[in-house]
Symmetry: C2
Subunit: 215 residues, 2 copies
């Protein structure tokens, strides 16, 4: 399958490399097609891996990942372009955190909204699924590195078919427990979890942890 | 030991009854000393259990619990009175959630602040420790009802001695894993976890769950 990964930071590389490992084709999108990290990604697994602008990646991908930083996501998706997003599943991994005033970070969105909902409103024909944003990127694509994968990934979205597709994809990443929290308003809670995640990270001095919902 | 429990709702009763079970004396405070639930609490275990106003409970208690609703907490503590709070440990269990516009709830505090910090600022001589706010009250006082107690309680506060005291108290409740997230600014993350908690509650249709941090 063909994927478009928007964002060439650590998260984009983790997701992109995992998709390549699983046999998919991946175009990594950056603001400029000359982006060094995008070029490095393309070189590493050519011809399965390619790179380009946000619009190139969104055009090539049948399923898209938003791996840009939360504060840049709306811009990046506007550049990607409505015609390249319409009808496609977009897995939104980003978090709208503001680190500009130091630690702890604050939220860029009020508690009555979320980045995922902002993206969905800006691109109503795109099928936004929020997932994987509650953990470090190494864990997103390799849940078994902790406790034999005995912990949870959370997701939400308005389109059942899209969530079904993302669920299968997450299983292919190794996820055994996928909790569907319902419609996209649940993204508020998923994004507002991050200030706690950041404190846990500071406390443990490692990003290698995740939550398990014990019942 | 003598405890003051501010609030006569389900949380106040759960905490108050547990403290009585453990052999402590508890005064439950309400807005009016004629509060029916407060009177019922006092009758159930007299003379170890008593009731009164917020000021009565705060005066009697050597350690205090804020079990009022988040939107009423600052008022309740103002009524409790500075002289009754000064120098004492206050375990803040409340959550500043706004359900007035339906589900999902929004936060009453911006992401740059928390109810616990507001309480600490209003009562600088009180030693505020945020704890137990991330779960249902039945679980707060009986962690073993789930998974043999193999899940986590999170806390934070500015006073190390106060956190040590609260930690011992939590152990007496049955908690085996207590994670100290540092100073009181971590209360932002602990309180912003609640919108996710509410979605998990809606998804599972039971409040009988908690998180475990898997490492």
């Amino acid at each position: 399958m063909k994927f478009g990964v928007l964002g060439s930071g650590a998260v984009g590389h983790a997701i992109g490399n995992k998709l390549i490992q699983l046999g998919h084709e991946v175009c990594m999108g950056s603001r400029e097609s000359s982006n060094e990290k995008g070029l490095a990604f393309a070189r590493a697994n050519t011809p399965k891996s390619t790179n380009g602008t946000f619009a190139d990646a969104a055009e090539v991908g049948e399923v898209l990942f938003n791996c840009t930083s939360g504060k840049a996501s709306l811009d990046a998706l506007a550049i990607a372009g409505e015609k390249n997003l319409a009808g496609k599943v977009l897995v939104d991994v980003a978090n709208p955190l503001d680190f500009s005033k130091g630690m702890p970070p604050s939220m860029l969105t009020p508690s009555t909204d979320s980045l995922a909902e902002q993206i969905q409103r800006a691109h109503p024909k795109c099928k936004v699924v929020k997932a994987l944003n509650t953990m470090n990127c190494a864990l997103m694509v390799d849940p078994k590195r902790l406790s034999s994968g005995n912990h949870d990934v959370l997701m939400c979205g308005n389109d059942k078919g899209a969530k079904g597709q993302v669920s299968e994809l997450l299983q292919s990443f190794g996820w055994k427990s996928i909790i569907d929290l319902g419609d996209l308003t649940a993204a508020r809670g998923l994004e507002m979890f991050l200030p706690l995640w950041v404190r846990l990270y500071s406390t443990f001095q490692t990003p290698d942890f995740n939550i398990k919902v014990v019942r």
